[in-house]
Amino acid sequence: MRKIGKNGLLSFGDKYRIYILFVAVFAFMSLFAPRFFNVFNVTSILKAISMNACVAIGFTVVMICGQLDLSIGTVITFAGVIALGLQPSLGYLASVAVAIVAGTLVGVLNGLLVAKAKINSFIVTLGTMTILQGAIYELSGGNSISVSSPEAFVISDFLSKSFLPLITPRILISAVLVAVVEFYLRRTRSGRNFYLVGGNRSTAWLAGIRTDRYTIAAFALSGATAAVAGVFSVLESTSATLKLGENSLMYVISATIIGGTAMSGGKGGVLRSVVAIFTLEMLYTGVILFGLGNEVKIFLAGLILAYVVLYEAYATYKHEKSLGQRPELMKELAARKSASA
């Protein structure tokens, strides 16, 4: 039987840290947080994460490509406002389709500017975010949009009611999207190419991968998933507020980093980001159930993020230090030194 040494354990811990953190938080909250471990509460948590989980799909792929998409929050709101704003004239199906296409087009535009015009993704998406904020105010007249018809309530009830324990249609939509994209990234050649593009763009290009296409595709996916998240969120709540996606940007960035996706690109995974979102949400719910304030919630999120960033920095330092070293030779030299002494 193969022995797992200290290094092996560390490596295992490093590789699966988000899953370990998830299990630890879930176990702790289930044991100690009042009314945490029940179907209603866990379903509430799953419902709460379904929007950001959907957004994290595209955002993680963009980060795997070594880019950043700051426009996700405003795309959520933009799509939500379009979906409900156009509903009275176009009906549900068409307005939802228009909203998702609009979100995807925003992503494509981001991708084109990053890949073809070679503008830094931070600048591009910051610009898109600001332009969209203005467009949202213009489209909505500065007011929230709501639909309170019986039909709207039927759709809302359908999306929010469990048809299986823990599963509502909205949760299912997010779960299916996560599974499909995770499978695509891990099990298909074109999926794995996203990692190559993010890991080393020049090498990927030399290997015959059309890097620009992958970058544009990643941004398009990010726009599309943010739009889907926004659309289903407003369909469930029957209203689109102008601050709908405001909180999502920092939340999803934090969760994606905590999940292990490298900001430099080439590393990470959609499932890991979603598990990180789930973990953070459990933590937040636990804080509330313990009767602690919002400040504790923010403090904890900051603490976890700080820990992960510091750990990543330390891991990078260790990795760079070990580059070019030959452990076997070092061991042999040490053995010779002790023998001669």
Partner: protein, 399 residues
């Protein structure tokens, strides 16, 4: 003989089953009697005012126009569904009062976000809850509606006797109230006015009559503007608005605009905007007002702000930079900064909006409902405009 024995056993069993029910009713009656004896009218807020001051509003509810949206925004009736929200409700699936007393009940208050005002509001609610020996829990979603939706789920999970809600978004409140209502938990909405439809699912609404307060404020403001600009054919003013979406966004700008359209038609709106990206930030407000001062110059004679702290500080920074002392500024109150500005003679007037009283009135409404009292759908806080003449009465400030 056998039959008599059977009947006796049946009666005994029935008595055994029914006894707890009767004793429970007796306990409920005792609890109700104890609850009704509690007097909260003597409670005081931090500013030494009566915590639960009765409303001074004597206006009659007008008839609803066929289509308020078809009327001009300067017509007060255009805002009918917001200003008079609640008066035309169609109660839907509303629970009946248990009429078993407020003592020992569990209530969860879900506010809108962290702010010194909110802290005072929660404190006021707790004072009344403590008087009734209620279990009181407050949750803050920190201004994020999604988080508020989630907190509603968590509150439902705790199965309280009532949920008190400050909705973050007037229109989003419809589904929020509906969800709580469907879970079989009574919901009471307070502070910000929801869309009228939300009140179909709520027991009622309590809070400041923002439209009413700002109509009152507008009249004081107009009188002062006329005094400082005698005989002027037009007097230009601007509005620093609240965060878009909530009822204060409309009430604190369109309230005075629609009031002044008839009370002082010479007062013209030059501009209105919500400071972005941060609505309640002094620097952002200063930038916005500086732009207005550059654009309108001496034509800008008055500014009405949605907040007497950060927004008002920003306004006065901009006015000082421009060397203007002639602009009459009024605002929604009443924070310490706002009252200090009134005392210094900078702010002309602010509304008295008791934060503690707001939370207290919501909890009192809940207590009255548990006590089986017949309640109006809406209960407003007392109205008052604070000026330099009476600002000292309201020290120390609540927040």
């Amino acid at each position: 003989m056998k039959r008599a024995a059977f009947i006796a056993v049946a009666i005994a069993l029935l008595a055994l089953v029914a006894a707890p029910c009767f004793s429970q009713t007796a306990a409920q009656k005792a609890n109700l009697a104890a609850s009704l004896k509690i007097d909260t009218s003597t409670l005081k807020s931090a500013d030494n005012q009566q915590l639960l001051a009765p409303s001074t509003d004597s206006r009659k509810v007008p008839a609803r126009p066929a289509d308020p949206n078809a009327l001009a925004e300067t017509d007060p009736l255009h805002w009918y569904d917001m200003e008079w929200a609640g008066w035309n409700v169609t109660p839907t699936n509303l629970p009946k009062s248990p009429a078993d007393g407020a003592v020992g009940k569990k209530i969860i208050m879900i506010v809108h976000g962290d702010h010194p005002w909110t802290t005072a509001c929660i404190l006021g609610g707790k004072k009344v809850a403590d008087a009734y020996n209620m279990t009181f829990k407050a949750l803050s979603p920190n201004w994020v509606k999604d988080v508020q939706d989630q907190m509603i789920d968590q509150a439902i999970n705790e199965k309280p006797d009532m949920i008190l809600l400050i909705p973050l978004d007037a229109k989003g409140a419809v589904q929020q109230a509906r969800k709580i209502n469907q879970a079989g938990i009574p919901v009471h909405i307070f502070n910000t006015l929801p869309d009228a439809q939300a009140l179909n699912y709520a027991l009622g609404w309590t809070g400041p009559d923002d439209f009413g307060q700002f109509r009152l404020l507008a009249k004081s403001w107009a009188d002062e503007l006329r005094r400082r600009n005698p005989g002027a054919k037009t007097i230009g003013v601007a509005y620093v608005q609240h965060a878009p979406g909530g009822s204060p966004y409309f009430a604190r700008s369109f309230g005075p605009i629609s009031e002044l359209a008839t009370y002082a038609p010479e007062i013209k709106t030059l501009a209105k905007a919500s400071p972005t990206p941060a609505t309640f930030d002094a620097n952002t407000t200063m930038q916005l007002v500086s732009d207005w001062l550059t654009k309108y110059g001496k034509d800008l004679k008055g500014i009405c702000a949605s907040d007497d702290s950060a927004q008002s500080l920003g306004i006065f920074q901009a006015l000082e930079k421009a060397g203007r002392t002639d602009v009459v500024v009024v605002a929604a109150g009443n924070s310490k900064q706002g009252m200090d500005l009134v005392k210094d003679g900078k702010l002309f007037a602010i509304t008295y909006q008791t934060a503690e009283g707001d939370g207290a009135l919501a909890v009192q409404y809940a207590a009255d409902w548990f006590n089986g009292k017949k309640l109006p759908v809406r209960r407003n806080l007392a109205q008052h405009i604070i000026t330099k003449a009476d600002v000292d009465k309201f020290y120390p400030p609540q927040w």
